[in-house]
């Protein structure tokens, strides 16, 4: 593309998934695929070939156990189950016997036979219509390549080169965990968004990341020099001197800004005119709680209970769920936690047996829970049993009608009665709330509030349903506009309606962490912000820099504007007046 002498600066856009600005060389992360040669073995060397194979199995098992332990430490035990299948395959006695016999009979080298034999299974799995099965095929491929590499006695090359920006098509949770071992400057991927696991882990490990940068793998080569701007989701290839200077200044500004934010940790989220605002975090794993405490979070405004399903083949039992929820509640105490019941379906853990034309409009969230009272009751019992410290609230996802709210409440009351009859203690006054993310629920905000204790606006889905745009579809990503006038007016409506019923409203989508939205949201009367913990100090800083009076003025003005760009420009202007040094995403 470019002559090496005259490199041209190029800019790529992706999603700002984890904040920070870094400069560095690109290191392309690709899966190790070994070269396999077919060799004939003399009869006296056959035993030697089999010994090599045996050693490779042992070595591979040691490696896998190491990754499994590391995963457990970094992101929790349940996530480490993804390696269980691979370890089981290594210990498959029949497979072992078959391979040894084939080596003896055909007098071929071990890696050739291993490849031949395991690929057979792999292909059978790949041809399956079942999503779960095709995933298992990747496990089989991983374990096969690991075995072959160990037969060839090649060392496991450190999969990431130190002090580089790692670039990849996609990253699995396991790949992301391996970051923590090396000094990775940043992460860039072609697919994935802010809610993917790679993004989540990058943020908790504080690694700047730009994800979903379309076309980047074809345009950038190993060792290319780039700048990664995780604040704005920008990658710059071959930056000119001028650009570098510019970004060095931005980097310094950002670091200064971060240091100033650190000082805010123990200060309350109050406006200049003394209005205290709830400020909490969104989390998925118990391991994130230390981090949110260190960020000065007042509890958890959204615990995504799907975290307990990751790496699991089946829905965990009541006891397993109870242990997970209890750990969350205990670690969060004295603050409280809002636990969202399983929001499976859509882009999250899907039952492999249900294939849908339109998953986002399909069987997901509370619809799944209400379809199986036993499944729903199991989770409710586990949550209730974990509520003895009285610091848990329940949140229902994907509510689209009043009937769903009433039916959920009926099941909750029945579950409470059962526990009472069994003399099992729980918080009898446990609060229940509804997530407002479907436009129909937004329009029914007053009636829904009257039925429950609080509302929480899930902006990611609300924006997607309101604007009829799939946030995962890269072709229309630019239509997904959080600051669309219809979105802001809907949020204003929901807050006003809930307040009429005397109920509080929180926000738990990404919009809550968008610095441009803080002023209008406060002005609308929002009671609580629950944000990605990495963004928390920034939101706090804005809250502490403004008066409620100003926020109300901005909110009123924004409701009059009807063009997204006008809204953005106006909000940028207003924000800069109060917090001049804040980095803003374009």
């Amino acid at each position: 593309m470019n002559n090496s002498n005259e490199k041209i600066e190029e800019v790529f856009k992706g999603i700002a998934a984890s904040p920070g600005i870094v400069f560095g060389e690109v290191y392309f992360f690709t899966k190790h695929t070994p070269r396999i040669e077919e060799k004939n073995i003399s009869s006296q060397n056959i035993e030697n070939e089999i010994t090599k194979f045996e050693h490779a199995i042992k070595r591979s098992e040691v490696e896998l156990l190491k990754i499994q332990t590391l995963t457990e430490q970094k992101i929790g035990k349940s996530n480490a189950n993804i390696f269980e299948a691979q370890i089981l395959i290594l210990n498959d006695a029949i497979l072992f016997k078959t391979i040894c016999e084939l080596i003896k009979r055909t007098k071929k080298n071990a890696e050739y036979i291993v490849n031949l034999e395991i690929t057979k299974y792999q292909q059978l799995m790949l041809s399956s219509a079942d999503e779960y099965m095709r995933e298992r095929a990747h496990d089989v491929e991983d374990v096969k390549n690991r075995l072959i590499r160990n037969i060839q006695q090649e060392k496991l090359i450190s999969r990431f080169k130190n002090n580089t920006i790692v670039m990849s098509e996609t990253l699995t949770p396991a790949d992301t965990v391996l970051f923590s071992r090396n000094n990775i400057l940043g992460v860039v991927t072609e697919t994935g968004g802010t809610t993917s696991h790679a993004a989540l882990i990058a943020r908790s490990l504080r690694i700047p990341a730009v994800l979903g940068a379309k076309g980047i793998c074809n345009s950038i080569k190993n060792s290319d020099e780039i700048i990664l701007d995780g604040n704005r989701g920008v990658i710059i290839l071959n930056p000119t001197k001028e650009t570098k200077k510019n970004y060095h200044a931005r980097q310094k500004e950002f670091e200064k800004f971060e240091r100033r934010l650190e000082k805010l940790r123990d200060l309350p989220a109050v406006t200049l005119d003394d209005f205290e605002i709830g400020l909490s975090s969104n989390i998925e794993f118990v391991e994130e709680i230390d981090y949110i405490h260190s960020q000065g979070s007042h509890g958890i405004g959204l615990y995504r209970s799907e975290g307990v399903l990751i790496g699991q083949d089946i829905i965990p039992s009541e006891e397993e769920q109870f242990n997970a929820y209890k750990a969350i509640a205990d670690k969060t105490f004295p603050f409280s936690v809002i636990m969202r019941t399983f929001d499976i379906g859509g882009d999250k853990v899907v039952d492999e047996h249900v294939k849908e034309e339109n998953p986002f409009l399909g069987f997901r969230g509370v619809r799944v829970s209400l379809a199986s009272e036993k499944f729903f009751t199991t989770q409710l019992r586990a949550i209730l049993r974990a509520s003895t410290r009285k610091n848990i609230s329940i949140l229902l996802p994907m509510i689209s009608s009043l009937e769903e709210v009433r039916e959920s409440k009926r099941i909750l009351e029945k579950t409470k009665d059962d526990l009472k009859n069994e003399n099992i203690p729980f918080d009898e006054k446990i609060k229940i709330g509804v997530m407002i993310e479907v436009p129909s629920a937004a329009l029914l905000a007053r009636e829904i509030s009257a039925e429950v204790d609080f509302l929480s606006i899930g902006t990611n889905d609300l924006v997607q349903y309101l604007l009829a745009v799939d946030r995962g579809n890269e072709n229309i990503g630019n239509i997904y506009q959080e600051l669309h006038p219809a979105v802001l007016r809907t949020i204003h409506f929901v807050i006003s309606e809930a307040h009429k019923a005397g109920k509080k409203v929180g926000i738990c989508g990404e919009l809550g962490a968008n610095p441009l939205a803080t002023l209008p949201l406060l002005g609308f009367g929002l009671d609580e912000f629950s944000v990605n913990p990495a963004m928390l100090p920034e939101v706090k800083k804005i809250i502490r820099s403004i008066t409620m009076q100003d926020a109300k003025r901005v909110a009123l003005k924004v409701l009059e504007l009807s063009d997204t760009n006008d809204i953005k420009n106006y909000l940028k202007e207003e924000l800069h007046k109060v917090v001049p040094d804040i980095p803003i995403n374009d």
């Binding site: 395959i89 006695a93 029949i94 059978l124 399956s128 083949d313 492999e352």
Partner: protein, 89 residues
Amino acid sequence: MIEKTITIMNRAGLHTRPAATLVKLAASFKSEFYIFKDGMNINGKSIIGVMTLAAEQGSTLALKFEGEDEVVASNAICEFFEKGFNEQL
């Protein structure tokens, strides 16, 4: 030789966890144990083989036991299938 036909009972199907238990159970018997599904013939003592079956809830498998303890083996293994691998049905 004993031949039996069974149906997968549990919701999640013959996934990794029950497959591992099944293989372990089969290995505790001397008899050969084979599973037939959709023209595939799999050694029931091999985890990679059993995983490949992708047997979901409601699918039917033919089982074959052959060896000195085939009666005990077939009873134990069929019971494991009938109980839905002791999982949620």
